[in-house]
Symmetry: C2
Subunit: 337 residues, 2 copies
């Protein structure tokens, strides 16, 4: 790290959070000053022992919350606790009121202005009052299906509609992702989970609305649907073989219409065996454009990196609750040693 | 336009400049308040008569320079006069000293910190003094070979090297571009023009250095080479048939090395008949990534658009001379009526 290293406090030591901390410890331009988690097994131990890391900075002792962290100027909080904005809001407000910028993986924070306007307004006001900036990001939402198509639009005179198709072969991804998409469950169980609201990728609606808002379209008419991907043949998964007829994953679509005209269509398929993974973006307008990422933007590998890469961007953002399209491009920096 | 429309003054009414003005007139969020050109045939006429446009706002009378434009708050100057920073500098300083943000097509302005550090420092200081922001941009430099690879890096943990390959079939492009790449000239004439420094695409070195700087690499060791693309068969061009053995276009490479290790390689091929046009970006690192734009990002069609799309970005930038990777993504906005 350098003398001018940015001070980072991390909240939430789940799988993504641990990876965030590992990356912060590795980056030459960042310095970990605090780590928080509510788990009694972690509180009081050092980050080094919790993560098996012995790098410089790993002697930070884990505390329960930011309330136990001494106030410091120019602090950035990285936050990875929940997909739910309602659950994250008290933590986000605490960070902001402590004078810290915030980069959070909370999917519902990535564009909360339509789904949760009151929470958004409250957080925005608190951030402006404190002179700090807050953003929700990651690979998806935050990059693949929203930031990247907005960036591409910069090379057009006019955009009439945006289509994104993201295919992620869940077989290449970690077990929790395979569980999240329902790998191996029955069609009945899939339907039950959908009814309970506990099935599928969180943030697709927010991504669609973020794209619409960035291009000047009213995002209030957004619909989202989810269908199962059914295994056609016996398919290997992290939970053993998925028999034909069982669920291999999810197929989700979010659409924004303006005056009945479809402007944004985001199509996400995450299923075991559905590969090859790939991201495609099509803009229709003047001119039409097509962008493709063969092999796809790997969600698990880089969600933590997308958060850490955004630390530099949030420090240069205007105060308030921001969306990614208002931020300079996130990017990695040289690592130590 | 809306009451909150951003005021735009344009300088330089060549082909790209005229297209910039057309787009400004079309956009609902912008209002043309002035247009400047040194051509005696244009000064004193209206933009409407010069461009054959009759839209609202086209009654602006063309003047020689910004010195004749009344001072106004929150003005953005779009500037398209020359590729040479030395030639543009007085105009850029005049705009900044008038309190305007500047978006310029000057290729050498896109990353002037290595090639022209004194001019860069002078402009940066003047912009900070005036509290305004300045950037050089376009499709290339400004987007295809620099901004887009930097954006892509945001979805990685670490980048070890960046390679970009841009193929533009000059046969699909306007006559001046075909002339610029030497379509139809002899190999001797090509060599003569290269020796005179008048051959090839301006800005490739700057793009390579912009990528390097954004990723934390020292950009001082940059090399650039240019080779002719020779027509293998008779090829139709805007100047008639190019006979085999004559020049079809250019093949340029810019490389940045750090401690002898190649970090950035930008390869640009612009030649008649070399298609299909395509842009490819490869990042090696963790993970490797490949992005492709089949059909390519069309230079002529969207250079003007890239400038106009950056008006919103420059107004939210920090004061000073900026590079694109410090700006929020440019994007188009809904047009009028």
């Amino acid at each position: 790290m350098t003398d001018s290293a940015v001070q980072v406090a991390h909240v939430g030591l789940g799988a993504i959070g641990r990876e965030v901390v590992r990356l912060v410890l590795r980056r030459a331009d960042l310095r970990l000053v605090a780590a928080c988690d509510i788990s009694p097994e972690l509180v009081g131990t050092t980050i080094g022992s919790a993560l098996g890391e012995s790098t410089d900075g790993a002697d930070v002792t884990i505390v329960t919350s930011l309330a136990e962290v001494p106030a410091t100027d120019d602090l950035v909080v990285t936050h990875t606790t929940s997909s739910s904005l309602a659950r994250c809001l008290p933590e986000l407000l605490a960070a902001v009121e402590a004078g810290a910028h915030v980069v959070s993986s909370c999917e519902e924070l990535s564009y909360p202005w339509v789904q949760a306007p009151e929470e958004a307004a409250r957080l925005d006001a608190a951030a402006k009052e404190a002179g700090v900036s807050v953003v929700g990001t990651g690979v998806n939402p935050g990059f693949a299906m929203d930031y990247l198509p907005v960036v591409l639009s910069g090379a057009t005179k006019q955009v009439d509609s945006v289509k994104v198709h993201r295919v992620q072969d869940a077989g290449e991804r970690r077990k929790p992702l395979q569980a999240k998409v329902g790998a191996g469950i029955t069609a009945d169980e899939f339907d039950r989970r959908v009814s309970d609201g506990g099935m599928g990728h969180v943030g697709l609606t927010e991504s669609a609305q973020a794209v619409a808002a960035a291009l000047g379209w009213d995002a209030s008419d957004t619909t989202e649907t989810i269908q199962p991907v059914i295994a056609a043949t016996a398919t290997a998964s992290a939970f053993g073989t998925i028999e034909p007829g069982r669920i291999a994953g999810i197929d989700q679509v979010a659409v924004v219409r303006v005056d009945g005209v479809e402007r944004v269509r985001l199509h996400l398929q995450m299923a075991v065996g559905i590969g090859p993974s790939q991201d495609d973006i099509w803009l229709t307008g003047d001119p039409d454009l097509h962008l493709t990422v063969p092999g796809g933007l790997h969600g698990d590998l880089v969600t933590a990196a997308a958060l850490v890469n955004t630390i530099g961007s949030i420090r240069h953002a205007e105060p308030g609750l921001r969306v990614m399209s208002e931020l300079r491009p996130p990017r990695p920096a040289p690592t130590r040693g």
